[in-house]
Amino acid sequence: MAPKKNAGSADGKRPGQTLPPGKVQASGTLVHGVETLNPAYFALVMSTGIVSIAAHYQGFHTIAAALFGINAAAYIVLWIMYLARIVFFTQRFRNDFRDHTLGMGFFTAVAASGVLGSQTLLLTGRFAVAGALWCVTVALWFCMIYGLFTGLITKEEKPSIAQGINGGWLLAIVATQAVTVLSTAIAPFLHIYREAILFMAFITWLFGGMLYIWVISLIFYRYLFFHFSPHDLTPPYWINMGAVAITTLGGTGLIAGAATSPFLFELTPFLKGFTFFFWATATWWIPMLVLLGVWRHGYRRFPLRYSPLFWGAVFPLGMYTACTHRLAEVTQAPLISAIPKGFVYVALAAWLITFLGMVHGILMGFRASKTSL
């Protein structure tokens, strides 16, 4: 999926002895793609899903449906590639999982499952599919949140804060809040278990909010007190905003669910207050991130080249559109309802540019492997 360099090397040797050149090229590139698959590649599904949801909210139903089709296909392909990587490149998977900068990328699989579940429910109303994705989301979240952090904590050799932390760490919050968002989306379908699901969503929402405060403190500390170069400002830094945006979306789901939940009903003022708190934080980040982007690519001339990490920058734009729309809807807040109407175009443009970059990257990978034969 992410071929960048010549792929017709060691991995393509064995099939090359029996297959015609065209097949060697294709399989070599594919094997290389699986081997070097970025753990954060599920950000493609996260981003496509939330941009589709945002487009649906703004009345672009055809675009939303088309993105849903792309997303479902991408989700299946990425799972095949992930599982193939675990089976055939176990050591690389193991190294990535216990890497401070790459390991957090695995949380994109959790968030992608959650966002796809919400998208499925919103666009098709298929509860069974969304329910199955809820199972995947909750199970993966449970195993990852304890597995990954245990792996990182028990590692004897650790990098410094300057080298080890980046915006990708906030994917742990995004994954947690994906559980909240999907749980609040399926809750209206349930009667007997609604209260339990909403309570679980409330707990993950609170925990996700707390985790954001812990991690963003470290990121802010790293930004302000350590050496900082354009290279350090990788695209996942946009998740600084995306993590609070999805927390806001989770809060809107809880506010909506409070109307039918005795427990949440009592907490409505708290839910509204904290949801606005997270939304305000997300809003504050946008000009800051734009300024840092201008500094990185405009002032310091850092080349703007496609990387799967750019999907981590598309996701917050779609999420901000969706969460602001829902916040305006559930709180009847004045002034903010106009924001998603404009922001949806920014999210769609960012998705399109990144998607074209990905297609270009794949084609270049195939071309490179062809010329090497």
């Binding site: 199972c135 909750v138 993966l140």
Partner: protein
Amino acid sequence: MMGFEYGRFGRRLARSLLNTLIWGFFCTSAAISWAADDPGVPGVTRNTVMHASASANPANGANARERTETDADRFFRTYMLPGTAVLVLMVGGTLTAVFYPKAETA
């Protein structure tokens, strides 16, 4: 030396498998017992609580009227809860298998 390493490896693997099994049984039994006890609360207690608090706010009244099992509730109890428990076991088991035997050499 080799024997010693295999001995350590065996003990580590056995311990991790035991942990997985304990947690697996815990998750599965919790899910099944919760699902078996229909709404999660004994009937008398539930009725009393709902009765007592129905007038407190509009959400309570709406909730009391809606306490009938839907298809989604049945799906949730029959497939989603056990499915999640099984997936936790599968993912946990896979991660244990991938990491524990090689943790010393990584």
